[in-house]
């Protein structure tokens, strides 16, 4: 057992004792209060993990987004969000419907025909992006949502990997 040092303080090599454990509890509570994890983060992480297709490309919020955090969490009536991946840029505009759902209109660049899916806690909605890369989800339940861009079809015509966006809050 390591004796305390000359000043009577416990030695570094000594075993953890109850005082150490109490201090660690206190440190945890200080940081829990000073810098808590955003409460909805585990939910958004779970949402991303649910998509286990490892062949996908993950899009990121575009670097030139003014307020990336506000863009995913803002509460204004209408907002636009841009995602970038290696092969694709996805721009969406989110508007409020009078019935409390959200309307999501978007554009793919470069313009291309793709199958589009939006995953929500209540299930998935699908649509297609036309040859100009435009797509629209008219009624999306509020809450966490994730966009998936899939190849338009099988074979050479359905080229391109799937692209997913990070989960965002509608």
């Amino acid at each position: 057992m390591n004796p305390p040092d000359a000043a009577g303080h416990p030695a570094a090599g000594g075993p953890l004792d109850d005082v150490d454990l109490a201090i660690l509890d206190d440190i945890r509570e200080v940081f829990q209060a000073a810098d808590p994890m955003p409460a909805d983060l585990p939910e958004r992480i779970r949402f991303s993990l649910a998509l286990r297709d490892l062949e996908v490309e993950v899009a990121r919020l575009a670097a030139d987004e003014d307020q990336p955090l506000l863009a995913t969490r803002g509460e204004e009536q209408s907002r636009t969000v841009t995602f970038d991946s290696d092969s694709l840029t996805i721009m969406i505009r989110i508007d409020s419907n009078t019935d409390g759902t959200a309307r999501v209109d978007g554009w793919l660049a470069p313009a291309q025909h793709r199958r589009m899916e939006i995953k929500t806690a209540a299930g998935s909605l699908t649509t297609t992006a036309d040859e100009q890369g435009r797509f629209s989800f008219r009624r999306v339940p509020r809450g966490t949502a994730q966009l998936v861009v899939r190849p338009a079809g099988e074979g050479p015509g359905g080229s391109g990997r799937s692209v997913v966006t990070p989960a965002l809050i509608l």
């Binding site: 416990p10 000594g14 005082v19 660690l24 440190i27 200080v30 829990q32 209060a33 992480i45 649910a50």
Partner: protein, 205 residues
């Protein structure tokens, strides 16, 4: 030391529990088999720790969120080699720390270092004597922490969020040696105890 008794009731219960290892082992097995619910419980359990790891490395909130998402996605392809709660926690902590350093190295070119979290000590609402006592105790601890080296501040912040059963493994992964009878307090905690007024040794109830 009865500091805990005075502090907020909004904090999760202490991370103890002898059945934690068995529970995490069960969840890991289920997650390996594709159990999304099990994976979700693991995420909920360990993300608060990883948040502190990322923030202690100096990341902004937004970067910390990105790093956590990245680390959890990466875990999916490493699940097969991880079978215990301690191994899982150690893998997540070291991977988060490494990824945080990488991101920080990139963002430091654009933004000055942000390591002033120590000045951000929160004040509980001054509405009771109990809260005033809690605030004083918190300030005392905060002041002692701020006298430690940045590395010690980071290590203590991380290990404070590690569940007791996983402490020894994670501490070892972070470079805190393990003694012959179990986890040691390590240099940083020993220093902190020396800085706290009237080292509470012997004053336990």
């Amino acid at each position: 030391m009865a500091v805990n008794d005075h502090w907020s009731s909004t904090v999760p219960p202490p991370l103890r529990g002898s059945d934690r290892n068995a529970r995490m082992a069960r969840l890991l097995t289920a997650a390996r088999d594709g159990g999304e619910e099990a994976m979700g419980q693991i995420v909920a359990d360990l993300s608060p720790l990883l948040w502190q790891v990322a923030r202690a490395a100096g990341l902004s909130s937004g970067d910390a969120e990105d790093v956590l998402q990245t680390v959890w996605v990466r875990l999916l392809s490493h699940l097969d080699g991880i079978h215990t709660s301690a191994a899982l926690t150690a893998w997540l902590v070291t991977t988060t720390r490494r990824e945080a350093w990488r991101v920080r190295a990139v963002s430091r070119r654009q933004f000055p270092a942000d390591q002033d979290w120590l000045t951000a000590v929160p004040d509980p609402a001054p509405d009771s004597e109990e809260r005033a006592i809690a605030r004083d105790q918190r300030r005392t601890l905060w002041a002692a922490l701020s006298q430690l080296s940045p590395r010690c501040q980071e290590l203590l912040r991380i290990v404070a969020f590690v569940a007791r059963p996983d402490y020894a493994t994670v501490a070892a992964a972070l470079g805190i040696p393990r003694g012959s009878v179990g986890p040691t307090r390590g240099r940083c905690l020993a220093k902190l105890r020396a800085l706290l007024p009237g080292d509470p040794e012997g004053s336990l109830p």
